[in-house]
C-alpha cells in the first residue's frame, strides 16, 4: 500500500472513527463525573431522531423524494448520523444490561463505519488506484508490472467495496433491533 493512500484516505477515516470513540468515552466520563448519568439515559431519544432525520438523504438518493439539494442532504446525513450515533453510544454507556439493545448498538457501530468507508475511502481510493495505473502507464510500464505495483492498493479497494455493501443490510438489522428495544421500553417503562 502506498504512503499516499494511507495518509490521504485511511488516516482521516481512522481519525473520524477514533474521534467518535474518544468523544463517547469523554462524554461518558463527564456524565459520571458530574453525576449527570440521567442525561445519558434520555440521549437515546434525540440520537434516534437525528438518525431517522438523516435518512432523508437515502430517500432523496432513491428518488422517493425530489426536493432539496443532494449534496446538502448528504452532508446532513453524515453529520446527523455521526452525532446521532454519538448520542446513542453515550446512551448505551458502558453498562451491559440486555442483549437486544447491545446488538442494536453493535449493528449501529458497523453501520457508521461502513458509511464512513463510503464517504472517506471508497471514492477517493478508486480515484487513487486509477491515477496510479495511469501514472505507471505513462511511464511505459508493462501491464503486468502495473498490476504488480498497484496490487495491494487494488486488494484494499476490493475489500472496501465489499465493506460498503454492508451499509444497507446492516442498517436494516440496526433499525429492527433498535425498534425492538424502543417497543420493549414503551411496553415496560413507566413514563408517568
Amino acid at each position: 500500500m502506498t504512503n499516499n493512500l494511507w495518509r490521504n484516505h485511511i488516516l482521516p477515516f481512522t481519525l473520524l472513527v477514533g474521534l467518535l470513540g474518544v468523544a463517547t468515552l469523554v462524554g461518558d466520563y463527564l456524565l459520571h463525573r458530574f453525576n449527570l448519568v440521567w442525561i445519558g439515559r434520555y440521549l437515546g431519544i434525540p440520537g434516534t431522531l437525528l438518525i431517522i432525520g438523516s435518512l432523508i438523504y437515502s430517500l432523496r438518493k432513491r428518488k422517493m423524494i425530489t426536493s432539496g439539494n443532494m449534496k446538502s442532504w448528504l452532508s446532513m446525513h453524515e453529520v446527523g448520523t455521526w452525532l446521532g450515533s454519538l448520542m446513542v453510544l453515550l446512551h448505551a454507556g458502558i453498562h451491559f444490561n440486555a442483549i437486544l439493545p447491545w446488538l442494536a448498538t453493535v449493528a449501529m457501530g458497523v453501520n457508521v463505519i461502513s458509511g464512513m468507508v463510503g464517504k472517506l475511502l471508497l471514492g477517493r481510493s478508486r480515484e487513487h488506484v486509477l491515477g496510479q495505473r495511469d501514472h505507471y502507464q505513462l511511464r511505459g510500464m508493462s501491464k503486468e508490472d502495473i498490476e504488480r505495483a498497484v496490487f495491494w492498493d487494488a486488494v484494499t479497494l476490493d475489500a472496501m467495496t465489499k465493506w460498503r455493501k454492508v451499509h444497507i443490510p446492516i442498517f436494516i438489522v440496526f433499525a429492527v433491533l433498535a425498534l425492538g428495544h424502543i417497543i420493549s421500553i414503551f411496553l415496560f417503562w413507566g413514563w408517568v
Binding site: 448519568v37 440521567w38 439515559r41 453498562h95 444490561n97 440486555a98 442483549i99 437486544l100 439493545p101 446488538l103 444497507i168 443490510p169 436494516i172 438489522v173 429492527v176 433491533l177 425492538g180 428495544h181 420493549s184 414503551f186 411496553l187 415496560f188 417503562w189 413507566g190 413514563w191 408517568v192
Partner: protein, 249 residues
C-alpha cells in the same frame, strides 16, 4: 441486496424476536432482579403493566402493607428487619415505586437509602424517634423529640441549629466541633482548646477590668469581637471594653 442475504437477515431477526419472548430477562430486561424477586425473572408482567411500567398494585398483591416489616410474603416473621419499627402501615398511600426499584441497570439511576418523609402520615412524621435512634453524644441524649427544631426531614446534616444564638462561628472560629466541645459533649464547651486563648491570659485581662466571674465566656461574649460584650441581665452594652464604657476610652 441479494435474495439470499435478505433471507439470512430475516431468519436472524426472527430468531432474535423469538429469543426476546423466550428469554425476556436476558434480551430486554435492564439487569438482574434483587435475589428476592429472582423467581419472577422471566415473568415481566408480574410487576409491570403494559405501557405504564411497574405498578404498586402488583407489589401489594404479594407484599401486604399491613405485614411489611413484620411478616415475609410467605407469612413467616421477619428475622432481621431493616428498620427497628415497621412504618409501611403509616404511609399515606401505597406508592411503592416512589422509594423502591428493581433491576440492576435501573437501580443505578435511583438514589438509594433515601426516603421521602412526606409519604408518612402527619402524626408518624413528627415522631422521629419511632424509627430513628438518638445519637449517643451527650447533647442528643438530653433531648427527647422535637428533632425538627434543628434537623430537616430531607437530610440529617446540615442541621439548622442556630449556633449564633450562643456563639457566632466567624472565620476565626471556623473549627471542628471537638475543638470547643471535647469528647462530643455539646452540653459543655471550652475556649481554651486553641492557642489564642490561654487560661492565664484570659484571667489576667479580666482581673485587670475587675471581673472575677469569667468562667462562662459565652455569657458575655457572643462572637469574636472582644468589644462586643453582653452582660447578663443588662441590655447590650455596645462597643466597650470589659467593664469600661466606650466614652472612657
Amino acid at each position: 441486496m441479494s435474495r439470499t442475504l435478505k433471507w439470512i437477515l430475516a431468519a436472524n431477526l426472527i430468531v432474535l424476536a423469538i429469543l426476546a419472548f423466550v428469554y425476556p430477562h436476558l434480551m430486554v430486561g435492564p439487569g438482574k432482579l434483587i435475589p428476592g424477586h429472582a423467581k419472577l425473572e422471566s415473568d415481566c408482567f408480574a410487576c409491570h403493566a403494559a405501557f405504564t411500567g411497574a405498578e404498586s398494585q402488583r407489589c401489594v398483591s404479594c407484599h401486604k402493607p399491613e405485614e411489611i416489616g413484620k411478616l415475609t410474603t410467605t407469612g413467616l416473621p421477619v428475622q432481621n428487619p431493616l428498620t427497628s419499627t415497621p412504618f409501611h402501615q403509616k404511609l399515606i398511600s401505597s406508592d411503592c415505586i416512589a422509594c423502591h426499584s428493581d433491576h440492576a441497570g435501573v437501580k443505578r439511576f435511583r438514589p438509594t437509602g433515601q426516603f421521602n418523609h412526606r409519604l408518612l402520615e402527619k402524626a408518624t412524621r413528627d415522631e422521629c424517634q419511632g424509627c430513628h435512634k438518638s445519637p449517643k453524644d451527650s447533647l442528643h441524649q438530653q433531648i427527647t423529640g422535637n428533632c425538627s427544631q434543628c434537623h430537616s426531614q430531607d437530610k440529617w446534616t446540615p442541621a439548622t441549629f442556630d449556633h449564633a444564638k450562643y456563639f457566632e462561628l466567624d472565620r476565626d472560629h471556623n473549627v471542628k466541633c471537638a475543638t470547643c466541645h471535647v469528647r462530643d459533649d455539646y452540653s459543655r464547651y471550652t475556649c481554651y482548646g486553641c492557642h489564642e486563648h490561654s487560661q492565664q491570659k484570659i484571667r489576667r485581662e479580666h482581673i485587670e477590668e475587675g471581673i472575677r466571674d469569667f468562667d462562662n465566656c459565652v455569657e458575655c461574649h457572643k462572637n469574636a469581637d472582644e468589644h462586643d460584650i453582653r452582660m447578663p441581665g443588662r441590655e447590650r452594652e455596645g462597643k466597650r471594653k470589659h467593664g469600661r464604657k466606650q466614652d472612657d476610652d
